[in-house]
Amino acid sequence: SQTIHQWPATLVQPVGSPLSLECTVEGTSNPNLYWYRQAAGRGLQLLFYSVGIGQISSEVPQNLSASRPQDRQFILSSKKLLLSDSGFYLCAWNLAENQPQHFGDGTRLSIL
């Protein structure tokens, strides 16, 4: 069966520091991969999605970036974090459009 892993589960970072969050999917090939951010008590905002290695689409202009160095690995990065980057970051996958996206358990990022 397919599984998705995100790490770390929680992260506290100072303003201006870099960021790297990792997501990996097991048990499937060539998944579509997604990064979302969820503010406290709010819905999900799509940040990036990828349909293949090296293919990244950005939905929201910001100081974050994403990369897909391997088929089942999706990385969210920043060179310099802002206070507004705090939130709950979720990675998801599916195999085709109009199929459910399946989520990891997220990384809670706090910026001090």
Partner: protein, 113 residues
């Protein structure tokens, strides 16, 4: 712009009662809808989906109803249990949207023992 929203931010029900969570969507081109359950500190968990060629779909203790005329989606949970307490999100997608889903703001379901 197009959006997906929820009528009730918080729903409180008695254990054993049925729950109904509602969602309105405004994009008439949407043809795929999903309900997710999110427990505290976890990622959303897929519950059930429905395509626009159906108006009802049933799962285990859950039923999703789709009314395309008024652009309304609902999730019915039968015999609500304490473990059902969570935030529920609807999401919409469509062929025009490719792989994209648009999520609503969420409804918190609280089950009273």
């Amino acid at each position: 712009g197009e959006s997906v929203g929820l009528h009730l931010p918080t729903l409180s029900v008695q254990e054993g009662d049925n729950s109904i969570i509602n969602c309105a969507y405004s994009n008439s081109a949407s043809d795929y809808f999903i309900w997710y359950k999110q427990e505290s500190g976890k990622g959303p968990q897929f519950i059930i989906d429905i395509r626009s060629n159906m108006d009802k779909r049933q799962g285990q203790r859950v039923t999703v109803l789709l009314n395309k005329t008024v652009k309304h989606l609902s999730l019915q949970i039968a015999a609500t249990q304490p473990g059902d307490s969570a935030v529920y999100f609807c999401a919409e997608g469509g062929y025009n949207a490719g792989n994209m889903l648009t999520f609503g703001g969420g409804t918190r379901l609280m089950v009273k023992p």
